[in-house]
């Protein structure tokens, strides 16, 4: 009986010793934080907003678990380690996704850029054919100035691409395309109107 109690007491002491002195998983914590930071630098806030939010929440939850365990008498960081490892894995997995989305956004911006340039060129071509006479002279001057300004704005698209602001570049290109198309339409209508009169 005595020996049984000795064994139990010794076992409890060993357990208490290991549990109470269990160290915080600092290495895992650093790894997870660093992985999240890498994802952020890769552009997660732009290209993977939702995933990045979840990642941050998971990291917070894992760190909360570490804090909770640190306050316990019998510390067990196993779950926290698992959570931190998951955060790191998810963060690592997110990097190629972000790269892929960024590439897609870049492709879209690069595709929108020549479309905008083509729309401006088309408007300029129409302007050359625009009916000249009473009521159109000033409009032609105004359109010429507008198209010159639009050509200048095309440089802004390139600047945005260079700055890796692909969504901004695509929006700018789209705006230029629409404006140039609007000018083309107005000139086309004027041409049609003149044609109609000649008939």
């Amino acid at each position: 009986m005595k020996s049984l109690f000795r064994v139990i007491t010794l076992g409890l002491l060993i357990t208490f010793f290991f549990a109470a002195c269990a160290k915080q998983p600092t290495q895992e914590m650093d790894n997870a934080k660093s992985a999240v930071e890498t994802v952020k630098k890769a552009g997660a806030e732009i290209y993977a907003k939702d995933e990045f939010k979840k990642l941050n929440d998971d990291l917070t939850a894992a760190l909360d678990e570490v804090t909770a365990q640190s306050k316990k008498l019998f510390k067990g960081y196993g779950k926290a380690k698992e959570m931190l490892a998951n955060v790191k894995t998810e963060a690592d997995n997110l990097v190629p996704t972000i790269a892929q989305r960024k590439e897609e956004a870049k492709k879209a911006a690069l595709a929108a850029q020549p479309e905008a340039a083509a729309a401006v060129a088309e408007a300029k071509a129409y302007l050359k054919k625009a009916p000249k006479g009473k009521g159109t002279r000033a409009d032609i001057e105004a359109f010429t100035a507008d198209l010159k300004a639009l050509e200048g704005s095309l440089l802004e698209v390139q600047k945005a691409i260079d700055a890796e602001d692909y969504y901004g570049a695509a929006d700018k290109a789209k705006a230029i395309k629409e404006k140039a198309a609007g000018i083309s339409d107005q000139i086309k209508k004027a041409i049609e109107k003149v044609k109609g009169r000649k008939k």
């Binding site: 009986m1 049984l4 907003k49 939702d50 939010k53 979840k54 929440d57 909360d64 909770a68 306050k71 316990k72 009473k134 009521g135 159109t136 002279r137 000033a138 409009d139 001057e141 105004a142 010429t144 100035a145 507008d146 010159k148 300004a149 639009l150 200048g152 704005s153 901004g168 929006d171 700018k172 789209k174 705006a175 230029i176 629409e178 404006k179």
Partner: protein
């Protein structure tokens, strides 16, 4: 020995009977997690930042309660207060969600209204840039403003109201630049002394309307308005189109300017190229004298005459004429019916200084 073993076995049995498993975490915990994610996704931090912070704090406190409870040995865990705390968070979140939706609606309407206001300013400065013949600096600024407006529109469509609102602030400086450019050009055409003269002409014409019980027409070129007076009272105001040099006083043929002075209707033309037309008594005696004086000073190109056929006609108020005043067809129809041969028409450049023009008032 045997008795000790029996006690140990009984103890184990009672433990398993009472349940070694921890009680389940309330479902509200997971629901709150989802709710918080959704609230973040819809931009609560931006649209209702204070409420969102309060919500986050409540959520944090509820989570702390949960952690505290989880820290307890499984037999002593009681999730009732935790469930209640998370339920409260869920209620708070539901209210926050409603508030966010309302705030988004308000913001969206505000953006729409600001866009409309900016568009009005752009339209006004655009027209005046044509009148002032300022198509370089002003038009470039206008295009920049218009492109930004389109970008704001795209952002709004995507539900990115915060970015849209931020971008809105970038538009005004371009419009102000265009307005300032146009205003400085217009200021060259208008001075206070001349305004006093033009005001006198207008007052004389309106007095004539009162005194003789007749219809008169006043045209303010800078304001782009034609006003009809009957018995000294304004009975209708119409937007007009001018010529490319519309703000200048006509001096000779081919200058694309519009004469300024006191004229009369000399012919009513019911069917012209630009719908109906009212021919004016240009040139007047003053115009002839001015023309001769300018010719002597060498200000008139060789071979140029004083010009004639100055009309108020239809065809639309957006077109730019060679020196006439254009109106929408429906407007010339109305005026055509109420005027007679001899109806006075007084044309002035402006009745107020360009500094008082709406386009130059910031924030409109």
């Amino acid at each position: 020995m045997m008795r000790n073993w029996l006690i140990a076995i009984l103890l184990l049995l009672s433990l398993s009977a009472s349940g070694c498993k921890a009680p389940p975490v309330p479902s509200e915990v997971k629901e709150t997690e989802t709710q918080e994610s959704n609230l973040w996704r819809v931009g609560s931090a931006f649209y209702a930042s204070e409420d969102y912070l309060k919500y986050k704090e409540s959520y944090r406190q509820a989570k702390n309660k949960l952690i505290k409870e989880k820290r307890k040995f499984i037999w002593f865990r009681k999730y009732k207060p935790v469930r209640l705390a998370f339920k409260n968070v869920l209620d708070e979140g539901a209210k926050l969600s409603q508030k966010v939706e309302i705030e988004k609606e308000i913001k969206s309407n505000k953006i729409m209204s600001q866009l409309a206001s900016l568009k009005n300013r752009i339209d006004a400065v655009k027209k005046l840039s044509l009148i002032a013949k300022e198509t370089l600096v002003a038009r470039s600024a206008i295009i920049s403003a218009e492109l930004l407006m389109s970008e704001v529109g795209f952002m709004k469509q995507e539900g990115n109201l915060i970015a849209a609102e931020e971008k809105l602030n970038d538009i005004s400086p371009y419009i102000e630049k265009a307005e300032e450019t146009v205003r400085s050009f217009l200021a060259r055409y208008v001075n206070e002394r001349a305004i006093r003269t033009w005001k006198r002409w207008v007052n004389e014409t309106i007095s004539e309307s009162t005194k003789n019980n007749i219809v008169v027409i006043i045209i303010d070129k800078l304001d782009r308005k034609l006003t009809v007076y009957k018995k000294g009272k304004a009975v209708g105001t119409y937007l007009i189109g001018l010529s490319r040099n519309g703000l200048s006083d006509k001096l000779h043929s081919g200058d694309f300017a519009i004469p300024e002075g006191k004229y009369r209707i000399t012919k009513k033309l019911p069917s012209r190229r630009y719908h109906k037309a009212l021919l004016l008594s240009y040139p007047s005696q003053e115009d002839l004298e001015e023309f001769s004086s300018a010719k002597m000073k060498g200000l008139v190109p060789e071979g140029a005459s004083i010009g004639d056929s100055i009309e108020i006609h239809g065809g639309g108020n957006e077109s730019l004429t060679d020196g006439c005043i254009s109106l929408e067809n429906k407007d010339i129809n109305k005026i055509f019916d109420i005027v007679d041969l001899g109806t006075p028409v007084t044309i002035v450049r402006a009745l107020s200084s360009p500094a008082k023009l709406p386009i130059t008032r910031k924030g409109l």
